[in-house]
């Protein structure tokens, strides 16, 4: 039986999933199922409601929505609508991405803390697995495994909702599935989601590093330490700023240190930290602003910002500290 480092890492990751199956696997799946069910019901209810109202009255004759939708003159609009849907349907999974932010946050908070609290760390330390490997396995779960599970769930949920919508529309005489299936956007959608993963990893590193470090250090009340210290720092800085009447750039500290320490696990956090990233929306556009935004390319452009790499370096440094803490921190 090979006990190579790669094999050990595989088992370490498996161990994380055994311990956190509820948080990392079942929670996203459950959210996805609930979203699908609720979404389907909502769509069916809305369409049923709309059906009751007639769209137009032409020469005294009521015209249904489906009739309008199916006319030739409507065709270009129809094409545009379907293309927008195909390109952006994955956005409907937003609740899952929000959930990911919280899941990874709390996972990291407990990663090096829980097994010190119940003393099971002494069992893991009795096995020939280095502290570096242990901590890195948790980083991998936080930055890769958990997001991948959520991305897969999000893709499936979005697809399911789309199918549900198509089904409901079809029941009312509007058939869109065939055309949707022909649009490349439908398939590229999930691919683009997965393509955001490296950007997510980079911007989440500072938070993951900070949380793992606190997780490995705190003897109790880990949440209070992890959140309290940055907030206290923020308050302190504001107070000093007001006291000394210096024009210290408080905002800089708040964004670049405190927010990055706490909010990095939220997908899309880079838009919070770097508001300049998102392009200005021109007032004359009638189309949805989001339609103009190529989320993938835009997000990847954030990699040109030095802040991204400085933050990642800080995160890596804190992970190193977490490894040292794991090695030498003594339990009462």
């Amino acid at each position: 039986m090979s006990t190579s480092p790669a094999n050990k890492m595989r088992w370490l990751i498996r161990r994380e999933l055994w311990e956190h199956k509820g948080m990392l696997l079942w929670t996203p799946v459950l959210i996805g199922i609930v979203m699908t069910v609720l979404g389907t019901l909502l769509t069916a209810a809305t369409i049923a409601n709309t059906k009751l109202k007639t769209a137009l009255t032409v020469n005294g004759e009521p015209v249904s929505w489906s009739a309008i939708f199916n006319t030739m003159s409507f065709a270009p609009h129809r094409k545009q609508i379907l293309e927008t849907v195909a390109n952006h349907y994955t956005n409907v999974a937003a609740p899952l991405f929000l959930a990911l932010g919280f899941l990874v946050f709390f996972y990291c908070l407990g990663a090096l803390y829980d097994d010190r609290r119940d003393r099971s760390v002494l069992f893991w330390k009795s096995l020939p697995v280095s502290d570096t490997q242990t901590v890195l396995s948790k980083v991998i779960v936080a930055l890769l495994v958990a997001p991948l599970i959520v991305l897969a769930t999000a893709s499936l949920t979005a697809l399911a909702l789309l199918l549900a919508l198509s089904g409901v529309l079809a029941a009312n005489g509007i058939h869109v599935l065939g055309e949707l299936a022909a649009l490349p956007g439908l398939y590229l959608g999930p691919v683009r989601l997965f393509g955001l993963l490296p950007v997510y990893c980079l911007w989440a590193l500072p938070t993951v590093g900070w949380l793992l470090m606190v997780s490995g250090w705190a003897r109790s009340k880990v949440f209070i330490w992890a959140v309290g210290v940055p907030l206290l720092l923020a308050i302190l800085v504001v107070w000093i700023d007001k006291l000394t009447q210096e024009q210290a750039n408080v905002g800089w500290l708040q964004i670049n240190v405190i927010a990055r320490a706490l909010l990095g696990t939220l997908p899309g956090s880079w838009y919070i930290f770097e508001p300049g990233l998102s392009p200005q929306v021109s007032a004359t556009d009638h189309g949805a602003p989001l339609a103009q935004l190529d989320l993938l390319a835009n997000s990847w452009s954030s990699l040109t910002l030095p802040a991204a790499w400085l933050g990642a370096a800080a995160g890596a440094a804190m992970i190193w500290v977490a490894i040292r803490l794991r090695r030498w921190r003594e339990e009462g």
């Binding site: 097994d115 002494l122 020939p128 030498w328 003594e330």
Partner: protein, 291 residues
């Protein structure tokens, strides 16, 4: 004792020191442990025995020199853990762990784990593969932990209060399994325990530790030769006390005195001789701690 570390010892310690704030947990601990022995590291709470074990297992830093299986636990801990196994406290397996997962994990990360052995031990218990630790009694958790440990071909096994809080059945079974299936002349075991009577006859060597120092280091054979208890009648009391006993206690109105290194012929004149129990020897040696 040589001031150099002994290369032939499984564990060799010289002048170990460790401070926690102002308290010296270890204050110059030196000892050697030869291979194939079962050593009892016995001392009162706060004597430094837990700190000594932690030092041996690389769980704490220290000053001084320490060599475990030829390695410094501070610098080569990861390599050391392939040859050393320990059970630190009763029932420290995490509650969410399943029996089958525990076996799979250890099999996946430990090069010296024999899976079929572990499964054989588990078959003799009431543990089923799908059981989780949180649904097991303390004794069952120890059975699982022991099954895993005994299937690992480690050269050194460190047991820190392994039977604490277990009922008598599990305790007896613990040592039975250890002696019957695990221990051989290539392995060394270090035990700390408060249940001195339980391990008295299992030990081959003794280390008494007090206030961060070793106050007695001897094989059980030497202990048997050095220490004698005498039941002294009232007429012999003064003569006996003149020989400077290590300790004196009263049993049914008679005085029982413990002597270290005094000839048996001399002592036979004062009363009935017998071998002191380890517990009595411990109390007599540790008297200072409780004053």
């Amino acid at each position: 004792m040589n001031t150099e570390l002994d290369k032939n010892s499984v564990i060799s310690a010289r002048a170990l020191r460790k401070q926690y704030g102002k308290q010296a947990a270890l204050d110059g601990v030196s000892f050697d442990i030869a291979p194939g022995r079962i050593v009892g590291l016995i001392g009162p709470n706060g004597s430094g025995k837990t700190t000594t074990l932690k030092a041996i297992l690389g769980l704490t830093g220290f000053e001084g020199e320490l060599s475990v299986l030829g390695r410094d636990p501070r610098l080569q801990r990861d390599a050391l853990m392939e040859d050393v196994c320990f059970i630190a406290d009763v029932a420290i397996l995490p509650g969410w762990l399943k029996v089958s997962d525990a076996v799979d994990f250890v099999a996946g990360v430990h090069p010296r784990f024999d899976r079929s052995k572990a499964e054989r031990y588990l078959a003799l218990t009431k543990l089923s593969p799908t059981m989780k630790v949180r649904s097991m009694s303390k004794g069952m958790v120890v059975q699982l932990h022991l099954a895993l440990v005994m299937a690992i071909d480690a050269k050194l096994l460190v047991l820190d209060e392994p039977t604490l809080g277990l009922d008598i059945l599990y305790r007896k079974q613990f040592y039975q399994n250890l002696l019957e299936d695990y221990f051989d002349e290539n392995k060394t075991i270090v035990i700390t325990t408060h249940q001195i009577e339980e391990v008295e006859h299992i030990l081959s060597d003794l280390l008494f530790i007090r206030d961060g120092r070793i106050v007695l280091a001897a094989s059980m054979e030497e202990v048997g030769e050095r220490y004698v208890e005498v039941m002294v009648g009232p007429q012999q009391l003064n003569a006996a006390r003149a020989l400077l006993p290590l300790g004196e206690r009263s049993v049914f109105g008679k005085s029982v005195m413990l002597f270290d290194g005094v000839s048996r012929e001399q002592l036979a004149l004062l009363g009935e001789l017998h071998a002191p129990s380890l517990a009595d020897l411990f109390v007599a040696t540790m008297k200072g701690s409780y004053q």
